[in-house]
């Protein structure tokens, strides 16, 4: 148990840039020494993405569960949250003091634009996974690679997604995302 705890505290403190950054660290700590089979590890990642909740937290919980059952899951998820707990306790106090400072407001406005650019990258990654049936291990390096992606486009997914977006943009009432996801799951039975 102590080993699980230390593993995940270590992972948490190294995971700059969020949940996905935990994947290579956990790979190094758990798969390379042979604690977890590589195939199992990839299944865990897929399931962490498909289940509700933050991907990194789910992955940590899952790895903890496979190592030490329910107690392992509990220890792992608490350990990986400790860096957040400490970091926020410190940073939130500083932020409350400076947040109405004029310079700070200017800096935050620029930061928000920068974050928008980074969010676009995350969305593009998801688009690649959900809209194309790409062969295993295909990555784009050149512009011609991107064009060849078009051969693998999944049209029913494209149409479904377009409908979803149009509905979200133009419907008067805003629904919670969970509703769209349930509808998507049901339609998925018939479409894919």
């Amino acid at each position: 148990m102590l080993k699980i705890f230390l593993t995940f505290i270590y992972t948490g403190f190294l995971a700059f840039g969020g949940g996905l950054a935990t994947i290579p660290i956990l790979y190094q700590l758990m798969v390379l020494p042979g604690e977890i089979l590589e195939e199992d590890f990839y299944n865990m990642i897929a399931i962490s993405q498909a289940t509700p909740g933050p991907v990194g937290l789910n992955l940590a919980t899952y790895v903890g569960f496979s190592e030490g059952s329910i107690l392992g899951a509990l220890v792992a998820s608490c350990a990986i949250a400790i860096p957040s707990l400490l970091g926020v306790s410190i940073l939130a106090r500083i932020y409350e003091k400076v947040k109405n400072n004029k310079t700070m407001l200017r800096v935050m406005k620029v930061l928000r634009s920068a974050i928008c650019g980074i969010v676009v990258i995350a969305v593009l990654k998801l688009l690649k996974n959900s809209l194309f049936n790409l062969p295993e291990g295909m990555v784009a390096n050149k512009i011609s690679d991107y064009i060849s992606f078009l051969n693998y486009i999944d049209y029913s997914a494209l149409i479904l997604m377009t409908l979803f977006i149009l509905f979200m943009r133009f419907s008067k009432k805003k629904y919670t995302p969970a509703i769209y996801i349930v509808v998507g799951g049901i339609l998925g039975i018939f479409l894919f």
């Binding site: 403190f13 190294l14 700059f16 840039g17 969020g18 949940g19 399931i47 289940t51 509700p52 909740g53 933050p54 990194g56 937290l57 789910n58 569960f65 496979s66 329910i70 899951a73 608490c78 949250a81 860096p83 957040s84 707990l85 970091g87 926020v88 306790s89 940073l91 939130a92 932020y95 947040k99 200017r106 800096v107 620029v110 930061l111 928000r112 634009s113 920068a114 974050i115 928008c116 650019g117 980074i118 969010v119 676009v120 990258i121 969305v123 998801l126 959900s130 997914a157 479904l160 997604m161 979803f164 977006i165 943009r169 995302p177 769209y180 996801i181 998507g184 799951g185 998925g188 039975i189």
Partner: protein
């Protein structure tokens, strides 16, 4: 009299804390699709329904969370908890985020190994992933429209996208560079921007 008042405010405090906790639990079970989808649901629950904090603050917390190690949404939740209920809020939010994750993963780990063999499971997951992506595109359009509203912000937006996507620049550097730009760039030096800003202010009022 005083005692009764104290008791009442304690009761109110407890009720608010419980409410915050339940929001996180609810979001934890409902928010498929990772980070931003969770943020969107939290925004609806906490900004629109309850007015605990503004959408800009929510985005700021998301940015600040990039600066500390750990899982971003866990950190963002802690920030929100702090905003609403100070140090105690951090623990409330943390528990609210962790409990659904443990519950879901334990159930799924026991069941899904068997379910994944059926084709219907992958079909459902595929349909869900399409919906999640659609939700994220919708959020992204709103984010860009609300925040990237002049040429300098647009340049920052494009540069941060290009440098991270094509040159693998670490997010820490992008944040530092943005801070530098923020320190030196004053919106009011550009006259047309002042006019535009004034218009925006009027519209807001």
């Amino acid at each position: 009299m005083d005692n009764a008042l104290e008791k009442k405010s304690f009761k109110k405090e407890l009720k608010e804390s419980l409410d915050l906790f339940l929001v996180f639990i609810k979001v934890g079970f409902l928010a498929f699709g990772g980070g931003l989808a969770i943020l969107r649901v939290l925004e609806q629950e906490l900004c629109e329904k309850r007015n605990y904090l503004s959408k800009e603050e929510m985005l700021d917390y998301y940015i600040l969370s990039q600066l500390i190690p750990g899982i971003i949404i866990v950190s963002s939740s802690c920030f929100i908890g702090y905003k609403v209920k100070k140090q105690r809020g951090i623990f409330i939010a943390l528990l609210g985020v962790i409990i659904p994750s443990i519950a879901v993963i334990v159930v799924v780990a026991l069941l899904l190994d068997k379910l994944i063999a059926y084709k219907i499971t992958t079909s459902i997951l595929k349909g869900m992933s399409v919906a999640v992506t659609a939700v994220l595109i919708d959020i992204n359009i709103d984010l860009i429209r609300n925040n990237v509203n002049n040429i300098v912000y647009f340049i920052v937006f494009v540069l941060s996208f290009i440098s991270m996507r094509f040159f693998n620049v670490s997010i820490v550097f992008i944040v530092l560079a943005s801070i530098m730009i923020g320190l030196f760039y004053k919106e009011k030096e550009i006259r047309s921007e002042v006019l535009k800003d004034n218009n925006n202010v009027k519209e807001d009022k």
